[in-house]
Amino acid sequence: MTRYLAFLAVAVVATISFLGFQGKTSKDTPVYVFDDMDYQNKYKAQGENALFADGRDARPPVAGTVARGTGLEPAQVFSDDFRRAESLNPSFVTGKDAKAAFLAGFPEKSLKLTKGQPQPYAIDADVLALGQAKYQIYCAVCHGDAGDGNGIMKVRSAIEGDVAIVTIASLQTPLIRSYPNGQLYDVVTNGKNTMMGYGDKLSPEERWAVVAYVRALQLSQNCPPELVPAAVKAQIK
């Protein structure tokens, strides 16, 4: 018995010294003793695939693909008179009118379809809140919370001694104030100078919301006295 218990104690010590305890960090891929169907041979998001030349599971969508999650029924999509919202209302996606000039204001129609027709688009508090949320995630990094171009990128590039410090635009300049909305939308979508486009990150609705929020920021930094609420005026004085 003593010998057996001694053997057991040695086995326990050996196991612990070899395997450690829970939470031990390791660079080794986790071991699955019974992997059952944990790993299935199927296409996964951002997966690797030797079958295709680019080595990716993800395939680019065929032209004219209708995205899932748009609330459209298959019968609708495959009917003869079906048109994608983007083709019915292209200026919402491009920011340009039929003559390829930038929209001065916001688009009149949205991408929401009712009975196959785009519905009116309006800027309301929800749109501004969406624009604020997206602006603070994607834009404030460079342009700053107030749109003055003093985001963290400027600070860091000054520390690192890189060139970005001179190229980050303030959104409060007269030039950018004078841009038509469609041009702001175009910059958000496709980028400008050293700024890359955010069309892959933000949907058209979100981009217009960001444009609306930028307009609000511009107003906040250059507000005519008659538009300032009385309560705020009292605080300023």
Partner: protein, 233 residues
């Protein structure tokens, strides 16, 4: 114990076929079996679950991206999680960012750093960077990031304080009981949607968390599935 063994090994009063030590054998075997059972149970409990097998998995990545520098309000840059993982609130899959996302800033900052050589090459050739996936659930589990993130389940609940990690490793077990802990008591975990990417957020007190959480469960009609088909298909 000594006395008991002496008693069991007492001299036989009659002729005995077996050696005296055999008298104690059944008890000794029983004790050894019990101790062995306890040790085996402890070993299974320690080693045979995700808490040992998966937690702590911290692989080297092709590019040494430091989350603690880039992400979270307390970091140097203070980026929101969604700047890079931008589909997390729109898609079931939370994407690893495109190389272009890195290049939004790094085309201007430290673009010639040797640490970013692979990013630069990927940008020039279009070849993907082979990031190593850390957090995995089995392929028969269908976890939807968007529905969780848009209903006040923070990144931190499953991924831990990524904003404090230099190299990302798995911090939570992600096993089924882990999921069910929250699905059975969502009010203990839900937070305001605008605090989802604030990994340091804590409600003022446990009571406040319960009160807030109960309100969110009611207002957002949160009804986490506990049936098999909720997550498995």
């Amino acid at each position: 114990m000594r006395k008991l063994l002496d008693f069991l090994n007492r001299p036989a009063t009659r002729g005995n076929f077996f050696a005296r030590a055999v008298n104690a054998a059944p008890l000794q075997i029983l004790i050894c079996l019990l101790i062995t059972a306890v040790v085996v149970a402890a070993a299974v409990n320690e080693y045979a679950t995700n808490k040992y097998l998966n937690v702590g998995y911290t692989p080297d990545q092709p590019v040494a991206f430091d989350h603690s520098f880039h992400a979270g309000p307390d970091s140097v840059l203070g980026l929101d999680c969604r700047y890079c993982h931008n589909y997390v609130d729109k898609s079931s899959h939370s994407n690893v960012p495109t190389t272009g996302t890195c290049w939004n800033c790094h085309s201007q900052v430290k673009s010639d750093s040797p640490a970013l050589a692979l990013v630069k090459k990927s940008m020039e050739t279009g070849e993907a960077i082979r990031w190593v996936k850390v957090h995995k659930v089995p392929d028969y589990v269908y976890f939807n990031h968007a529905v969780h993130v848009n209903r006040g389940v923070s990144c931190v609940e499953c991924h831990g304080r990524i904003d404090q990690q230099v190299v990302v490793g798995q911090q939570k077990s992600l096993n089924m009981s882990f999921c069910l802990d929250c699905h059975r008591n969502p009010e203990q975990f839900l937070r305001p949607v605008d605090k989802v990417t604030d990994l340091a957020y804590k409600a003022a007190s446990p009571a406040a968390q319960t009160a807030d959480g109960t309100k969110f469960v009611h207002d957002w009609k949160v009804n986490p599935p506990q049936s098999c088909s909720g997550c498995h298909r």
